[in-house]
């Protein structure tokens, strides 16, 4: 069957903050751009971001990009690449002012400048004292950003393919990426999009965890596409957890609740944080609280029939305090945990929040991978990745709050700029290989033909449980090794799913089966990379290797789908213009 074909200069898979920012740069320069999104672009997951965008504008106190750079490197537990981090922190003010100019409704100071909020981990003068660096639009920063960028793109005649799902990258015989294969949900039609360059901007894959703050669309499709095309995935062992998501739902309960006096209890009614952090107790930093909770659960002191969560008690604060200071939390508890915190504790569990790893890129957004025996990184021509699906790596082993929205803007723009130049020297479309759509068509026809097989919901559940249990906050070699075995079983099952509904029109089961294939790839990469890394760094906390080991592990992991093989590459400790920040012990 001959597939229809459309031709663009650039196709961008993803209409979240990063995809829209890159699209704008290209469309305003007059390039013919197509943006693909599974959902309407302004309903991308970026809409969930509330906290703000980090930039050293210095509107509240004195601030400097070098201090922001230091905080980011320290936050990353020294796994971040210092060239990319310098690039991002230096560009921060520029991209925020641009967004302001595009019409973003930032909160303001009385003198008209952008108001900046405090946020954990951001400091003045290399850790001396906290600084207010987060630029926000009330509690709708992500929402405002998406709307601002979307409107601007429409004006620039960027073409949107909404409710389309990209399935695979097309690489020619020389390895150049020459477009994508995508599926229109409404018709079931599969189309080849030929392009001079392709940008992946598909967001994170937080749905590999049972407990996740991520929306259902965050299934790591871009990671699956890259991995299937032979591109390695970088640092996939690093996932940031929030200590208190509502058990079984994932919705966040802010640290503010513990700030107001809420306490955590195990199945014995014990205030266990007193053991893990005698001074700060329930107010210790995120990773310490997450580890405490996870350990209680692992040691059998979890609550509930599955003993899989702990309790956050606030009834002792009294109805008045709860209603007055924490009304939003009462609302969330009632709606998503079915408990009234005035009378009962809220079941909570450490919840996956952010993916630090992803598709390896340089700070132009170009995808890079080692080639040949020397292992030097080389650009994969025609392919870019930006946003949460990419690993530049500015977040290293642990992301600093507000640095993700910044990452979307800086590297979205940078990729757009780089491409505008690249397109000048690469003005022609390359030929499509004759097997351009084979991989996608094989996957679809297997699904369409399968009369019996695994149930998608069950396999997805098995995957999420496996990742949550074996690659959660608390990790040991034994747990991880078992997890690797289990996830390989799950991966086999995911390749053998069957769906009853064989229709082509809005077949959501078919889409979910395709998403599951991507999720399982990410899950396997996570477990394999975490098992191999015998140290604790940032978000990876190994009980059997409690310390950071710079001698052996100051390096990025690269997981290849073929053979589920690992490779490594050095961390770039050399910034662009300033002196290197040498790894130090991290104390806050």
């Amino acid at each position: 069957m001959a597939l229809s074909r459309q031709i663009f200069d650039t196709v961008i898979v993803g209409g979240g903050g990063s995809g829209l920012r890159a699209a704008l740069q290209l469309a305003e320069a007059g390039h013919h751009v197509a943006v693909f999104s599974k959902v309407f672009p302004t309903r991308s997951h970026t809409v969930a971001a509330q906290g703000g965008i980090g930039a050293s504008l210095g509107n509240m106190q004195e601030d400097h990009w070098l201090w922001h750079m230091y905080d980011t490197i320290k936050g990353s537990d020294y796994l971040g690449d210092q060239d990319a981090i310098e690039f991002m922190c230096r560009k921060a003010a520029e991209v925020v002012y641009e967004l302001e100019h595009f019409g973003m409704p930032f909160d303001r100071n009385p003198d008209g400048t952008i108001y900046q909020r405090p946020f954990g981990g951001h400091s003045q003068n290399f850790g001396e004292r906290p600084v207010q660096r987060a630029c926000a639009a009330a509690d709708r920063t992500g929402h405002a950003m998406l709307h601002t960028l979307y409107q601007r793109n429409v004006r620039a005649h960027c073409q949107f393919f909404v409710e389309w799902m990209a399935l695979d990258l097309i690489r020619d015989y020389e390895g150049v990426v020459v477009g994508i294969v995508a599926l229109e949900m409404e018709t079931g039609q599969v189309v080849i999009f030929q392009a001079k360059s392709t940008i992946l901007a598909t967001g994170g894959a937080g749905r590999i965890y049972h407990s996740s703050t991520n929306a259902f669309i965050n299934t790591g499709d871009g990671l699956g596409m890259a991995a299937r095309a032979g591109v390695p995935l970088e640092d996939m062992e690093f996932w940031q957890f929030h200590p208190t998501g509502v058990a079984g739902a994932g919705v966040l309960i802010t640290e503010g609740v513990r700030g107001e006096g809420g306490i955590l209890l195990n199945s014995e009614g014990e205030r266990f944080m007193e053991r893990y952090a005698p001074t700060m107790k329930d107010l210790a930093s995120r990773d310490v609280v997450s580890r405490g909770i996870d350990q209680e659960i692992k040691e059998g002191r979890g609550v509930g029939p599955e003993k899989d969560h702990v309790l956050l008690k606030l009834d002792h604060l009294g109805a008045e305090v709860i209603n007055k200071r924490l009304p939003g939390i009462r609302e969330i508890a009632l709606k998503f945990a079915n408990v009234d915190p005035i009378r009962e504790p809220i079941p909570v569990v450490p919840t996956c929040h952010y993916q630090m790893g992803g598709i390896p890129t340089n700070y132009y957004g170009q995808v890079v991978a080692p080639r040949g025996a020397l292992g030097t990184s080389e650009v994969i021509p025609g392919l870019y990745a930006i946003g949460e699906c990419a690993c530049v790596s500015v977040h290293g082993a642990n992301r600093l709050g507000t640095n993700s929205l910044l990452d979307l803007l800086v590297f979205g723009k940078s990729a757009g700029d780089h491409l505008c130049e690249w397109l000048k020297t690469n003005p022609q479309h390359r030929d499509l290989p004759h097997d351009a759509a084979d991989r996608s068509m094989e996957r679809l026809s297997r699904l369409d033909g399968a009369q019996s097989g695994e149930n998608i919901t069950e396999v997805a559940q098995a995957m999420r449980r496996t990742v949550q249990h074996h690659a959660g906050v608390f990790r040991t070699g034994t747990l991880l090794r078992e997890g690797v075995e289990k996830i390989r079983e799950v991966a086999k099952r995911a390749r053998n799913t069957a769906i009853k509904d064989k229709s082509r029109v809005f077949n959501t089961a078919r889409i979910e089966a395709l998403e599951l294939e991507n999720l399982v790839i990410v899950a396997e990469a996570t477990l394999v990379a975490a098992e191999a890394r015998t140290e604790s760094r940032g978000a990876q906390a190994r009980e059997d290797f409690k310390d950071r080991d710079d001698k052996n592990w100051l390096k990025h992991s690269l997981w290849y789908m073929e053979g589920s093989r690992l490779d490594y590459k050095p961390v770039n400790l050399q910034p662009l213009t300033v002196e290197s920040f040498e790894p130090k012990v991290r104390v806050y």
Binding site: H143, A215, V251, I332, S503, F506, I511
Partner: protein, 82 residues
């Protein structure tokens, strides 16, 4: 979810995938309970709600605000109670 959904119902199910986890969870419960039994006017009202930005829809679903259009209320009540 059974395999007997109509195409229209499948379309509504996909459009109920949102950018906010809170909305995903609320709408999933609503769909599990009501999708196959929605009347024509209810489908129209639900479709209109799905057009809203996530944050506005969340305010309505949590009962923090009422809808501008009274026609939306019956479906909204079902969403709130799911």
């Amino acid at each position: 979810m059974t395999a007997t959904l109509t195409r229209e119902q499948e379309r509504l199910r996909w459009r109920s995938r949102r950018g906010l986890l809170e909305m995903d969870l609320i709408l999933q419960r609503f769909l599990d309970q009501h999708l196959t039994r929605l009347t024509e006017p209810e489908v129209r009202a639900y479709d209109a709600l799905l057009q809203l930005p996530d944050n506005d829809f969340l305010d309505l679903a949590m009962g923090r605000k009422g809808p501008d259009d009274a026609e939306l209320l019956p479906v909204l009540e079902k969403i709130r109670q799911s």
